[in-house]
Symmetry: D2
Subunit: 362 residues, 4 copies
């Protein structure tokens, strides 16, 4: 009810503030007997952690996790899995400037009004640091999906006005290799180079820039998603829109589909010799009537530019008086390279949840 | 869990198939002592009902509702409000063609696989007829919001490649008058004329076309929305993506925001002489950190073209054999004029729900 | 959230007031392809309906139900099942006396304070008439359980100080035959006779009396119930305590178990030649650690005497002034004979819900 | 869904196994600006901790808690409160005997079947150690209730066949003083002495015994509880039945009420000179129609004897073969003295949750 939980069956609850003792997550509803690969989880966290390259914030956190419960002899037991990630690099003093003053396009003002109190240090609960907990939970969701042969794959498809071409790939491994070949996490090497140059320039100016991530679900079985309100793409949309800085979501033909005609857009069914049903085109984006149809699911997620910039900005303070504020601390010039891990985590959480729900009503 | 409910506090559950006895909705959690204006509810339903103009389906349903419970002497009592809308114009035979054959880009195939059974008549549960129940519930949500002075306003902002300019309006009444002046429900008269011509031509070809709706929330108090997962815009996004045929959602700077720089995008705070805090620009779209900041909320919703077209299409049948199907029945050439009422209903439901939630934790 | 829903997976929401248009229930989450026997549902409703014998209220309602959705060609489709039961015998004038005056030990006062408004006619939403909707939903739950071979069986085990001996029975059919042989629904014929005499005498005095119902679940598989908070017996307890007039619940050794020693109370495990594990005694009542262990589940539910009596009582009115009130209308001298159907319905709903939940986490 | 959460608005999720790293709880939905008294929380935990007297288990755990999030400068911020309690005295080897063998009347067998895996050490997740997390959360609930002047008070009212007389007390402080005067936590000094003697004798025999706890809510406002399924007493019942070893719950007239007549049982309303409405008697136990009526709420909770006894017992092993098991480790001869803190915690959690819910619908 207070907004810190996600999922119905495979349910996560995250907790923790940017500069508190620790952040963490409880996963309640993970099936038993899933093998837990600790290195895999750490690897996922490392993709999101700060300080990993010159185009991310230089803040340092090892983001080392501890599992407190739910695992016995390397396997899940069906009981809640509690994971904590202690906070390390807490330069709280860096944030004295926003104790009484509201940073533009941050959540300082809205939290203050909503709760009448806020932990201002590093944005407190509104900090994107919270998403590390999602990545940890998402890693466990991915371990579940691996068993089922389902792949969740995302990469940076745009930075500013630089757009990647469609990626041609034949396996999940190939896609990940292409993407991890560069620090911006775009699977097209040439675009990646341009993106890095763009971000690096913007960083030097003390400015920031937005971007887009494209995410695919491959080998998703038919039947995931519930009719009416909990359509698969609606839950994916909510998941993505809940990530800090996301301002838009579309799937399949998306916004472009609104300019098309039915005669172009309809995906004709066909069946292979083995009897497998598929569609000739995939404007539906792998989802029809809110339920997966076995084709690849694809979606795009738009991120606004990071709000913390290194220049003077006009604002007001808690008393409503005019004030000036300047970005301090260590921040990202562009959030999308680190957000790839978050997008994959959220997609994995949605797919696992609907995978389990789909066992129920037949 | 089965996907037929929406909302946490002001919770609706819809039921009913296109060609069953009735469709309807239960609203559980409506505060007591709200005055219920029956004419207002019918008027909302009339905006969505079929057969209202030459550019909508010619199917006829009066969509007359009955309230079975929850109202006493014209006011809500705090107990569940049950509303039913009997189905009238059920030409079930029109649908014999899709009993065993899957219509392209409809939900026939996915429902069949998911449940192993389906009511094929008119799409059964997957029919957009279900949205009439949402509109009835949304009307009651709007009556609640009216008491609080909050306006929910939507119009058709695009059909195909025809885009409306931004609408300049000073009151909700003015906006609604502009919009209801034409049958396509675009508040810009000149664009509306072009849209009607476009849709009418497409209708004559037996084809369909997509479009976009823009929705505003005006006079929304500060503080609505919950941190982390239940961000206000994430719940709005899910609400909109749950509407039949929606393929995309963005808010504030939206997809365009992903191409901007932080120095352009940040919304500087300012305070009026009376001490009211606002922002100079509104790229945040009225929501910061997932919580409303008192500025106008705005969002755009993209609809794909209607899947039922009046020409032969290739598909497969239940046995996986190749088949041909032709659209029969009476269908909409473009769904957005009727969907304005649905978008407003879903937005109203989200705002009421978060309005009530915001009373809880302070 | 407003208290009108029950269950997590097989979720029901009831609606309706005693003297409104209709009462009813939505079942959301019923698996598809369950055959629906309409006569069976009516038969369950008939066991609860008023006017069925001299020891129940003489109010007449046929309690005929209509199914509005969710069934296609005699089977469930996985979509919401909406059932309504129109109200017929609405002598609302009978209730003018409690418009402004609070009936002792009824919900008039608490509803008035909670909501600031109430439908006083026949108790409105607080009337036990609401339980007819539960019985209809419970009938569908029973049809599901029948497929699985699970029996839910209840009878009247006490009226006042008259207690039935333990019932010896070998089949569900035998138990139901014994119980339905008499109008008080006690499976022991001799006790039944005494109970009927007792109730009839109390009825003539214009008074009422309490009683107890014992309920068994037979052939319940091992594994139903979730650890910690949603223990099977905890959900059964909540289900029973939610029935009007219930003041107590225990299971297995129950209240008597609190006087026993561990050495007496522990249920030793044993295994049959075929390898089936059971326990020698069953003080655990079929549930260990909140999870069914395959033994018979048993529980007892205590009902207070009906609050409406045919004599003058002191009370206060809405203004807090002293007033006198006299029971009018047509009421039950003892609620347990009609409540057997409600207890079975609630037990069936809990078992189905946990049956479905138990498919999830392994 | 997996059973580890409780509450709708003030929602707790507990995690952790008896012999894992730590147990703990997330409280999601605690209102902001509640002052947190750390000593008070520790004091509540100390009442439940093992090793506190000769009649409890001699196992030693300091049960020292850490708060990881949700508190800023001594006050709640409205964000999730994470509390962990590290496990200290983990003599896991003590539990080798139940790795493959099922302890009678424990959850070993049911967990093994349900999940296909279990952490056998000390009962793992099924251990009553989990309740320490509830007590920590309950302490914060109590701090909230204190601000509202609501008292939650429990004591041991029976051990075996020894029953305490009704306690006469005029203030919460007096009650707590009477209760904490003795190690069995019965507020009647004379009965307490007999109870201690009884338990001590049973302990020496290596046996265990059951008991009962009575709990009161004083100064509860009118209006708490939701109609139909979430009646206040139904949620209290579920809360209590979810505590390890509880086999029965009743409130108000309870099981005895089932033997009474309506003319005895009805609680006549009266109003004081100041206009305050109350009832002359309180057979309703402070709840009418599921909603609090402002009178004292009272309830009784029955605990079975602890299953671990110090003698040989017959059982079976994982292969279904006959086996013998002997209680080892350090266990409680009677659970009720330590369970008083758990009962109060659960009652406080229910009351806070319904207090917050009651703000919603009017």
């Amino acid at each position: 009810m207070a907004g810190n939980s996600f999922g119905q069956i495979f349910k996560i609850t995250t907790f923790g503030e940017s500069h508190g003792e620790a952040i963490g997550v409880i996963i309640d509803g993970c099936p038993s007997n899933i093998e837990i690969d600790l290195d895999f989880i750490q690897n996922e966290l490392d993709k999101r952690k700060p300080g990993q390259s010159k185009i991310t914030t230089q803040r340092k956190e090892s983001d080392t996790f501890q599992i407190l419960s739910g695992i016995f002899e390397g396997k899940t037991t069906g009981t809640p899995i509690a994971i904590i990630i202690p906070n390390e690099d807490q330069k709280s003093k860096d944030y004295d400037h926003n104790k009484d003053t509201f940073r533009p396009s941050h959540a300082d003002y809205t939290y203050q009004v909503k709760y009448g109190i806020r932990d201002h240090r590093g944005g407190g609960r509104s900090s994107a640091r919270e998403t590390a907990a999602r990545v940890a939970a998402g890693a466990i969701a991915k371990l579940f999906l691996k068993q089922k042969g389902i792949d969740v794959l995302a990469h940076v498809s745009s930075v500013g006005n630089l757009d990647s071409p469609e990626i041609d790939f034949t396996s999940a491994e190939e896609f990940v290799t292409l993407r991890e070949n560069n620090i911006v996490r775009c699977a097209d090497a040439k675009t990646a180079e341009q993106m890095i140059e763009l971000i690096d320039g913007i960083r030097k100016e003390g400015d920031t820039i937005g971007g887009k991530i494209t995410c695919y679900i491959k080998n998703c079985p038919v039947g995931l998603g519930e009719p009416v309100f909990d359509k698969l793409h609606a839950d994916l949309g909510k998941a993505m829109l809940s990530i800090n800085a996301v301002h838009g979501f579309d799937y399949g033909s998306g916004f472009d589909g609104s300019t098309m005609r039915g005669s172009q857009h309809n995906d004709a069914f066909q069946s292979s010799e083995s009897g497998k049903i598929s569609t000739k085109t995939n404007f539906s984006g792998g989802v029809q009537g809110g339920i997966s149809n076995g084709m690849d699911i694809n979606m795009r997620i738009a991120f606004k530019p990071v709000a913390t910039i290194m220049s003077n900005q006009n604002t007001v303070n808690k008393s409503g008086e005019a004030a000036e504020i300047k970005g301090k601390g260590r921040h990202d010039p562009c959030v999308v390279p680190r957000a790839v891990a978050i997008v994959e985590a959220m997609a994995a959480l949605v797919i696992v949840d609907h995978y389990l729900r789909n066992q129920l009503y037949k």
